[in-house]
Symmetry: C2
Subunit: 268 residues, 2 copies
Amino acid sequence: MADQDSRPIGVFDSGIGGLTVLKELALQFPHESFLYVGDTARLPYGSKSPQTIRKYSEQIIQFLEKQNVKAIVIACNTASSQVPEREIDGLPIYNVIEPGSQRALELSSGKRIGVLATRATVNSQAYTHKIHALDPQAQVFDQACPLFVPLAEEGWDADPVTNLIVFRYLSPLLQNHIDTLILGCTHYPILKNSIARVTGSSIELVDSGEAIAQWLSRDFKSGRLGPNKSGEPRRIDIMTTDSSAHFTEMAQRILKPAKADQYAVVDV
Amino acid sequence: MADQDSRPIGVFDSGIGGLTVLKELALQFPHESFLYVGDTARLPYGSKSPQTIRKYSEQIIQFLEKQNVKAIVIACNTASSQVPEREIDGLPIYNVIEPGSQRALELSSGKRIGVLATRATVNSQAYTHKIHALDPQAQVFDQACPLFVPLAEEGWDADPVTNLIVFRYLSPLLQNHIDTLILGCTHYPILKNSIARVTGSSIELVDSGEAIAQWLSRDFKSGRLGPNKSGEPRRIDIMTTDSSAHFTEMAQRILKPAKADQYAVVDV
């Protein structure tokens, strides 16, 4: 494909969670521009039905297509569990399920893989199906964690209450002797310190941002994606479907050391 | 107004919280029919902006008008903080802010009133303004509790983790020596046992369901609302904007001993 492509990469999530992915991509690809959409007027997706999640996701994909992006990253595990990876007229749409599954299998010594996710992602069994498609021998143990998103949004990321809730959710997985743990919601890396405290150093943690960055890197190398060689400084634009001072404050914290050029509110 | 009116009373909330109000109304008015709408496809409202909350609320009010209800109860404090009480062509629309404020002032001995609510309700200052309008001498201390809704939705209503979080949120109010506490979100009565354990018996708790039931009772007596004297058994219909087995399960638990005749999914 194109030798050079200065168009931005579109990234979306229901809210702030996808910013953990944006941060990773912004750091790994310092010349690429990004256009982020957080569907904050309708968040969270994790408790909604498959039909509703698909409807909202397709609306945002259409919105990003109109913004002339060169690729779309679904930086939300719940949406990724409902929207397949595909290509629309040469525009690649990536989700985070396959990259995360593959990375977990690479890291896992005993193929006992835990998945922490929203209720919707757990119900979809998207990780279990994908991991089994890649390695039928692997064992998958999943756990819905409905309190993690609000804990991350509240900013209680280094807090005894959070440690206690993490311990509660992780106990069944630890009893199943997992050796690798997928943080199957893009909010969860915000709580990584609390999670790592409970898992200890013998369990590998997989986060969606690192996993998808590896995939994009491969597609830049293969030429599926053209790099930005315009010489202009790259831009990071963040759009939300609802206005909120709290969002901007949290976004700045999560993105550090990366920085957004603009925050705007849009209708999708 | 009408001596007899067999039409249902419309009640709405963003999700399951308003069911604590529906339960109270169903028990206090055993001959009245109710039509409940839970906007589960777009919940929660508590973290959204005033414009978005107003837009969603007005859509549901229009939907309920078309269903030919005889009154509408906004059983959501966040929506109540943005949508005024009013009458549309003889159809009364009640919110829960004034009933709760008045009830708190009736119960309060020292006029030191605490308010627990969502971030949006706290930002609106709706309770503070209403209480001061009714009694300029009263002192109001508010606290946003973003984790209460997910704790209630998770069903952790008698749990040490919940007690700990309740204690965290309530501490500043207790230090201010409140004598009365408004549960300013219709989800919070689900956590009433944990809250009462922290407040002890010397602090009066005000919940929206009891407060609005008192108001409707007054309007039935004055003739503003006509009672159902059709002789037919009353109906309770529950509609949500998204489908969820978890909702139905939680709804049955919250409504007990009242019972819904039907659960359905609608577009508003």
